[in-house]
Symmetry: C2
Subunit: 435 residues, 2 copies
């Protein structure tokens, strides 16, 4: 019952690799950085982009994006600085209030917004959640690094475009329901945070910049639909310029799109791009879009369920790691301790001696030729049994092979608890911080 197949122990290598890279990216710091600590709160800034001069997405302000660590909770955040922005009205930062109520799987959560002089100027700073190793859809599809653009040999599969539409529809449902408009549906502001997941980054920023604007909400919400249509059209035809509100969309682009994709998708893009004529009063609304997408939403939903199942099963495999790590560190505090309570032989006597031999049993196995046997499966299995405290008995031989202890995992588990508590006792409960 406690046997686990070795292949069951470990995650698939590519999944582990990707998650490790994300963990590493989250922990990355620049040792000799000149970047400031912001608001005496966000530190260890690591740049996530290199601003080019020219077209700025947010007004005329150059934006710099960093990974930053919070001094208060140690978590990592995405910090966006709008350079040289002096707020006329300090109340503007309230523009993010409604946004803080939105918790949606396709919207990067907005944390806070404040002015800062830590960059030696007046800057406006936005804090969003950080999603390690994200790429913008522009970086992913247009690959316009250093201004070069190669012609994609293969067009983006239709299923991906439907997935984008559904996910952004999910985002807009939450956003429009809060009486807001996204206003940032652009290939450079939609980020790919996982293989099949996009999120609207850069939300709330224009709400602060345009705090005193009187543009009607319904107009801005209609623009969201049009921008979504432009986004899909630009990706489907590999023509970044079509994403920009200023670009006139030529008929040829729609025709090119129609040659590559289904009638249904083309019709949907046309619907998104349409502006109702002055006689028509009907505006597009998000529930209407959702209804038109319903078959695709069912597919997205099922895909998401499959992804959940996979991650859940991966989690079950790695589940015991925290407990194993804690246990093996506990053993580390006990084994070979130079001295305790003024007794230099503390770790060699009594229960500690048996735990020393148990450590040998787990980590110092040799085969008949005396060669080390380094079997992670054996180590994990033994530690699992120790953690569970089962009745199975094992033989622990002393190093000179003169003595053999026959002891159960249940008894060994008690010994670990006794010895560790003995170490912790002098300081009371706080002594074993975190264990």
């Amino acid at each position: 019952p406690y046997q686990r197949q070795p292949h069951d122990f470990f995650l698939r290598e590519d999944i582990r690799e990707e998650l490790h890279k994300k963990a590493d990216a989250t922990r990355q710091v620049l040792p000799n950085s000149q970047l400031p600590t912001v608001s005496n709160h966000y530190h260890s800034l690591v740049p996530l982009d290199t601003p080019r001069s020219g077209a700025n997405f947010f007004g005329n302000y150059v934006s710099w994006v960093y990974k930053a660590t919070s001094k208060k909770n140690g978590h990592t955040y995405c910090l966006r600085r709008l350079q040289g922005l002096r707020l006329n009205n300090v109340e503007s930062v309230r523009g993010i209030q409604s946004w803080k109520r939105i918790s949606n799987g396709n919207v990067v959560s907005v944390i806070e917004c404040f002015t800062s002089r830590d960059f030696s100027d007046n800057s406006l700073v936005f804090i969003h959640n950080y999603h390690p190793l994200s790429k913008t859809l522009a970086e992913h599809h247009f690959n316009t690094a250093q201004g070069s653009r190669y012609t994609r040999q293969f067009s983006v599969p239709e299923s991906i475009l439907w997935s984008y539409i559904c996910q952004i529809c999910n985002a807009l449902k939450a956003i429009h329901a809060e009486k807001l408009a996204a206003r940032c549906i652009d290939a450079s502001k939609v980020i790919l945070t996982d293989k099949n997941r996009v999120r609207l980054g850069g939300c709330a920023i224009l709400d602060v910049l345009d705090y005193e604007s009187t543009q009607p909400l319904v107009d801005m919400q209609q623009e969201d639909f049009i921008q979504l249509g432009r986004l899909i059209l630009s990706i489907g035809t590999n023509t970044p310029a079509l994403g920009s509100p200023q670009t006139v969309i030529p008929q040829s682009a729609l025709e090119q799109f129609g040659r590559t994709y289904s009638v249904e998708l083309r019709e949907r893009v046309i619907w998104l791009l349409s502006r109702p004529s002055p006689q028509e009063t009907a505006q597009k609304n998000i529930l209407e879009l959702a209804c038109g997408l319903s078959s695709h939403f069912v597919d997205c939903f099922d895909t998401s369920l499959h992804a959940q199942d996979e991650v859940n099963s991966n989690l079950m495999r790695e589940l015991e790691n925290g407990r194993i790590a804690r246990l093996v560190m506990k053993l580390g505090t006990i084994n070979e301790r130079p001295e305790f309570d003024n007794d230099p032989s503390w770790s060699e006597n009594g229960e500690r001696y048996q735990l020393k031999l148990f450590r040998d049993y787990v980590f110092h196995q040799v085969d008949s030729s005396g060669h080390p046997v380094l079997d992670l499966g054996h180590m994990i299995s033994s530690l699992n049994k120790l953690d569970a405290g089962i009745d199975e008995r094992i033989h622990l031989a002393s190093r000179d092979n003169q003595t053999v202890f026959v002891v159960s995992y249940k008894e060994l588990k008690k010994m670990v608890a006794n010895c560790f508590n003995e170490l912790a006792k002098p300081h009371g409960k706080q002594a074993s911080r975190g264990f």
Copy 2:
């Protein structure tokens, strides 16, 4: 930067608990069981139900459900035995063929079907995927254990009912697209496999039993809608009998339902229950249902994304724990090794000596009074730095305090690799299995 808060180290206790229970349930065996091995393939059967005589869901055959382990791949499956069933036509088992093509997050996957004499009779055996600790919706909502039923104080929340409808709609979309009908939408055949996940169990069984039947597919598909309506109505009114096709649905039940739930939900149930009159040719179809549910599908989708995010972050956390555990175990194989390569002082010399002192630095810290400092945060932080091999230098003092080594994590990381590889070398690559 390499600080992880101790509270971040471990999975939330309730999540760990639940996953542990599922793992235990999967591994459970009955030591003195009389149950047979089936087809020389499925062994270690553990009963999942206790058949009561009386109403059998599958024809007149008593069904027994077991957890079973496959001899071929070690995986666990759900084995259902229909007792005393002699197949007239051996081709009937082909009834599951189309079902094997279905891979849907809300359908329990069908694996195989065969006849068996291993239960000392003629039995028909179905193998489905196993979902540990599942409960049927009947067990969950009606709680009819031992025939007792208590009046629920609180009605099932509307959001749960919408979630059931959407999930079963997802299942039906896949099933109807394969030219099949579910035929098992019943509270005893829909299982709750996770907090927010239902799946149709028992699929494919009636397809085999009725292999030679000529009932038109479209009629059976229409019955799926009606049965779904009955299921929701019965749960919403806490009246199990309404789930049965034979029960006439009184107007009072619909009125009771309408008092508890929204107009929209009541209308949807009525739609599901409706039978088109002979003049109407329009049958219900699944895309029509999906469209009517579109707003709720968006909600289900978003809920699923949030669940994915949570499991993903738990997985990342446990992965990092795995890294730490593996590193500590590597150190364990090196530190205090009784001997290596016929050299009993191997672990006391050279690089191993510095790693011994490093182990002291991590695990054997004391304060000024000589009391042990058991700080998990310090241990995790040091091990993370070791794993990353950063440039930071630390002072390692010998036990007699006569020597101090100043060494970087980068150098220590190399030492661990060298020493471990030395241990692994005699056997070549396989020696360090799993590391």
